[in-house]
């Protein structure tokens, strides 16, 4: 080697120095190889940890649509005004320099200027760590306050500045904008845009929020969401910062949250040593948008039911309506009153309405958050009689057999029945009753007599076939199982005849939800099939071009069969038809539609047994010839009424809407199907 030529000569000292240098350079080379090649990965990850912050980007939540694709829940943009702290870092420094006491000794001044004076240099400018920290915060607060008051003037709206909150945000998440005003009105946006300048360090930020354009309509079906930015399964669990996100609590929002929610994405932003966000390529994963959920709800029917209910019973009525297709199990409408506005939970209501809604939601009696169609037990009263009748007919009751209702000695105009010493009042006049007449006028005595003759075990066995006392399996996270005695219970020694008699007219140790009654009446209507009610038709991708196969939930899935002879069913249906045509259910009648219905009134007692309210029912299906819809109306009220007068008129309106709908739908369905086939 050229360099070593001279060293080969006889000069051991120089050779030793050369060797030492070579060894030293080799040590450096080895060290560098170790750090830069062997351990490079480790240091690269150190680098990422210190210079990247991950932000969780929530996915666009899927919309909720009615069966015809009308939007029930969606996402809307909301504009927030935020401070971009990174843009203000220069201003912070300038302000700090201004606040800082000026040093009297300029360090770069040449020495001869100080030469004559031998006194020690004045140290006025030196600050302790604490002083520097406090001055730094003062500078930041001053700048932020200045900007905020400027914006406040621009918008003509007072804005508050909370230094503590600001300090917290500054220390924890300097790399994301600091919000100063949320949910700007269009007017405020316009004012801000007019006066916008890039140097302000303030800009508009778009945030999507969940909104329910229909307000209270079908609110209990939709449910509501709450702010929740935690990671769902399959997502990274660690993020430095999480943008606001929602999680469904109840209703479809809750039950289908995993479908609606999608998968959050991640953005890694580069930050400098002070934590300010740096311009540069952000890396990460795109959020995976949630899926749309298409319901079986028909908004026309839903609205008709809600309007009719409000019109007849007022907005504060405690009531529920279920409209179900008896063949498919599709829930076409599900109303719970009083309504609630799910926009309340996303802060999308104007301030005055928020207060009103808040007061309403807290009302202990109205409890608007409860879905009364599924989430509260009600004594069914007479609407349970068709099931008792089915059990009796199937076990040998001759429908034409006459039962004589005896008069109540204290009230000779009305009937009664004695169970040993206990007298049970009847609402009907004394006289002869066959099955049809007993249904039409809802005689308690007739059903108690024949029910007891059939045997409580038979009634309970049939009730179990109807899956009373069990959930119907709705995905709304708001469902109770109701109350229904089991065979073991009725066989126990403490089960008394009086208990059995109560069951026979739908009182006592049983309670149902309107959705259970809808399923039961659908079974009577469709020939005995207990269906799984269906609230969600399909889950589809938000992007129609995605080519993703939608998840379609099959309709008309049979859960069980009641196993009653068709003859018994026909007799019951005939009797129920008679009730709406000649009996208590007459107000439900819609011209051109033969409705089979049953009215009911059940007493609601408090813990002491005192009568506090009534549950008024009208349970029905139509048309008689080829049943298609079941309509169940339930109103709980302290004021007087009856199933026929309180509920049947609401059912009437709903049937009218259904007839209307069928008329308008028939041709359009054909074209839709035709187009589909062509496509």
């Amino acid at each position: 080697m050229l360099v070593f030529d001279e060293l080969k000569k006889n000069d051991p000292q120089l050779r030793f120095v050369a060797l030492a240098l070579a060894a030293g350079l080799f040590v450096l080379l080895a060290g560098l190889w170790w750090v830069q090649v062997v351990s490079a990965g480790e240091y690269k990850s150190h680098l990422e940890t210190q210079s990247y912050r991950t932000i969780r980007m929530p996915a666009m939540r899927g919309r909720i649509l009615d069966r015809e694709g009308r939007v029930m829940a969606e996402n809307t943009a909301r504009y927030n005004l935020s401070l971009y702290l990174g843009d203000l870092s220069g201003a912070f420094q300038t302000e700090y320099n201004r606040l800082r006491p000026i040093r009297r000794v300029a360090p770069s001044q040449p020495f001869w200027k100080f030469w004559p004076s031998s006194s020690p240099a004045p140290k006025a400018g030196s600050l302790s760590k604490e002083q520097i920290a406090s001055l730094t915060w003062q500078a930041r607060d001053d700048v932020a306050y200045g900007v905020i008051s400027h914006v406040s003037q621009t918008l003509g709206q007072p804005l508050t500045f909370d230094p503590k909150n600001f300090q917290r945000a500054y220390e924890s998440s300097l790399y994301v904008p600091y919000p100063i005003l949320q949910n700007l009105t269009p007017e405020e946006i316009a004012r801000f845009e007019e006066n916008y300048s890039e140097s302000m360090g303030v800009d508009l930020e778009v945030q999507t929020t969940r909104s329910y354009p229909l307000g209270t309509t079908a609110a209990h079906v939709l449910g509501y969401v709450q702010k929740d930015d935690s990671s769902i399964e399959g997502e990274d669990s660690f993020f430095n910062y999480r943008l606001p996100d929602y999680r469904g609590v109840v209703g479809i929002e809750g039950g289908f949250d995993s479908a609606l929610h999608g998968r959050a994405g991640e953005v890694s932003v580069m930050v400098n040593n002070q934590g300010f966000r740096q311009p540069g390529e952000d890396v990460g994963s795109e959020p995976d948008p949630g899926h749309n959920v298409v319901l079986t709800i028909d908004l026309d029917i839903q609205r008709a039911a809600e309007q009719s209910l409000a019109q007849h019973q007022g907005a504060d009525a405690r009531a529920a309506v279920v409209v179900m297709n008896v063949r498919t199990g599709d829930i076409l409408a599900m109303v719970s009153s009083p309504g609630m506005d799910p926009n309340y939970f996303t802060g999308n209501l104007p301030p005055d309405e928020i207060q009103k809604e808040s007061a309403l939601l807290d009302d202990p009696k109205l409890r608007p958050l409860i879905n009364r169609a599924t989430y509260e037990n009600y004594a069914p009263g007479s609407i349970f009689k068709p099931i008792v009748g089915l059990a009796a007919l199937d076990n040998g009751l001759n429908p034409d057999e006459i039962y004589q209702v005896q008069p109540d000695p204290l009230d000779p105009d009305h009937g009664c029945i004695y169970l040993g010493a206990r007298k049970i009042k009847d609402t009907v006049h004394p006289g002869d009753y066959d099955f049809k007449r007993a249904v039409a006028f809802s005689s308690n005595s007739y059903f108690i007599y024949n029910g007891l003759r059939t045997g409580i075990e038979k009634i309970v066995a049939l009730g179990e076939k109807f899956h009373l006392g069990e959930k119907t399996g709705l995905p709304t996270r708001q469902e109770t199982r109701g109350i229904f005695p089991s065979l073991e219970e009725v066989r126990k020694s403490d089960w008394r005849v009086g208990d059995s008699a109560n069951i026979c007219f739908g009182q006592g140790q049983m309670a149902v939800t309107p959705i259970q009654i809808a399923v039961a009446y659908s079974a009577i209507a469709n020939g005995g099939n207990i269906l799984w009610p269906r609230l969600v038709d399909r889950v589809v991708s938000q992007d129609p071009a995605s080519g993703e196969t939608p998840t379609i939930f099959p309709s008309g899935v049979v859960r069980d069969q009641i196993g009653v002879r068709p003859r018994s069913l026909r007799i019951v249906c005939d009797a129920m038809l008679d009730e709406t045509q000649n009996g208590t259910g007459k107000p439900a009648d819609v011209p051109g539609l033969s409705i089979c219905g049953k009215t009911g009134t059940a007493q609601v007692q408090d813990e002491t047994g005192k009568l506090i309210a009534h549950n008024y029912w009208f349970a029905s299906f139509a048309p008689y010839e080829s049943p298609k819809y079941a309509v169940i109306v339930m109103v709980q009220s302290e004021s007087g009424g009856s199933g026929g007068s309180t509920c049947a008129p609401i059912a009437h309106d709903i049937y009218a809407a259904l007839v209307e709908k069928d008329k308008s739908l028939t041709p359009s369905v054909a074209t839709v199907n035709g187009r589909k086939r062509n496509g």
Binding site: L2, V3, F4, D5, E6, L7, K9, D11, Q13, L14, F16, V17, A18, A20, L21, G24, L25, V27, L28, L29, G31, L32, W33, W34, V35, Q36, V37, S39, A40, E42, Y43, K44, H46, L47, Q50, S51, P107, S108, Q109, P110, F111, F114, W115, P120, A121, M270, V271, N272, N273, Q274, Q278
Partner: protein, 405 residues
């Protein structure tokens, strides 16, 4: 003056070494540029105030100074060596006087001149080399006398003590291998040298053990931040040095301080390590751009971390190779030198440059403690550049006036 007739068959200058030096200067300008432009405050300066422009100006001045030195035969320079030596000793004393020496980062190392912050220690090292070379280039018989050894040692310890007082332990320590190598090559008896190495070793060891483990009362007075650097290097917990009965808050404070002190080393390591094999590209290093590498030192003491981050292991090897060429070419010059004076000057300069390179790159990869030792020609700094190029000029001077002349 160089006789043109000689240049015909033998080039007057060691071109290989000059080429390597030029390479280092190009790298220096490029990476001082990269390191400083990443900082918005320095990037916004007018172009003539940019550090890389100043660095180029210093290169030009240094090349000029080195070239001028080549015209004066090194014997002539050596004759003035003691005068130069004492001048630099005087300036080292001056720098310690408040108002004369200016204080930065807790050390008094600079004299502020209107156009330039003069760092006497950079020139004291060269002055020592010249003085020692001159002193040691006497007949070999005389070198065996212990008095020569002791006098050389005194020559070295005087600037050592003054630089140590600034405090600049790193620059002071650089004198040790330089003096040692010169004495060894000159022919000072091995016994004396072994004694010196042994003493230095034992004293050094005791010094470090004292700093790291001795109770407070028995501590050798040393500048606190130099002590902290040693503690960081040896991985000692600061909490051992907390006064007994310190409150948790005080301990927390001490811990914070330790994290702060370790910061530079950690960031330098992250820079170097994250550069990987091929680096992130010139001006694409993030450590410096994002301010993790301390901006006060990225362009001078820690310039190597910028190069290593942006050019990776490949860049590091290029830097090492360029230094290797400069150093071994320097040793070849020593071997070809006409006399012992030339040989000793060359050996001194080579050892000095090597010591700088080893300590500086070593501290970037944590095999050496952090000291304020610049990387010759790459680190930003007028005194350092000027000193390095004058040193190179001295080597070339020896080469021009080599054997067979």
């Amino acid at each position: 003056m160089v006789d043109p007739s000689i240049n015909e068959h033998r080039p007057g200058l060691d071109r290989l070494q000059l080429l390597a030096l030029a390479g280092l200067m190009v790298l220096g300008a490029l990476f001082v540029c990269s390191a400083t432009l990443a900082n918005p405050a320095s990037a916004s300066l007018p172009w003539f105030d940019q550090m890389w422009v100043r660095q180029i100006i210093w290169y030009a001045i240094g090349i000029g100074a080195g070239a001028v030195l080549c015209f004066v035969e090194y014997h002539t320079i050596a004759r003035w060596s003691m005068v130069i030596y004492w001048l630099t000793i005087f300036s080292l004393i001056a720098v310690l006087i408040p108002h004369v020496g200016s204080m930065r980062y807790g050390a008094r190392r600079w004299i502020d001149l209107p156009f330039f912050q003069f760092q006497p220690s950079e020139f004291a090292k060269l002055a020592f080399i010249l003085a020692a070379a001159n002193f040691l280039s006497r007949p070999p018989d005389e070198l065996r006398q212990p008095v020569i050894f002791w006098k050389t040692l005194g020559l070295m310890l005087l600037p050592f003590a003054l630089i140590y007082k600034e405090p600049d332990l790193g620059s002071a320590l650089v004198l040790m291998p330089t003096g040692l190598a010169m004495m060894y090559v000159a022919g000072i008896p091995k016994r004396s040298l072994m004694l010196l190495i042994g003493t230095v070793g034992v004293v050094g060891l005791l010094f470090i053990v004292d700093i790291l483990y001795a109770p407070h009362a028995l501590q050798i007075p040393i500048h606190p931040y130099e002590r902290d650097r040693l503690l960081v290097y040896f991985g000692r917990d600061y909490a051992h040095f907390a006064p007994s009965g310190a409150t948790p808050a005080e301990l927390q404070n001490i811990h914070q301080q330790q994290l702060g002190d370790e910061y530079n080393v950690r960031q330098a390591l992250i820079s170097v390590g994250s550069g990987g094999l091929t680096g992130k590209g010139w001006r694409h290093g993030t450590q410096n751009a994002l301010g993790y590498s301390p901006r006060a030192v990225a362009h001078n003491d820690f310039i190597f971390s910028v190069i290593a981050e942006e050019e990776g292991f490949v860049g590091s090897v290029i830097v090492l190779a360029l230094y290797a060429v400069v150093l071994f070419a320097g040793l070849r010059i020593a071997g070809q030198a006409r006399d012992r004076l030339g040989k000793l000057v060359a050996v001194g300069v080579v050892t000095l440059i090597f010591s700088h390179v080893f300590i500086n790159i070593g501290m970037n990869i944590r095999i050496m403690p952090v000291t304020g030792v610049p990387l010759p020609l790459l680190s930003y700094g007028g005194s350092s550049v000027l000193g390095s190029l004058i040193a190179a000029g001295l080597m070339q001077n020896v080469y021009i006036h080599r054997k067979g002349y």
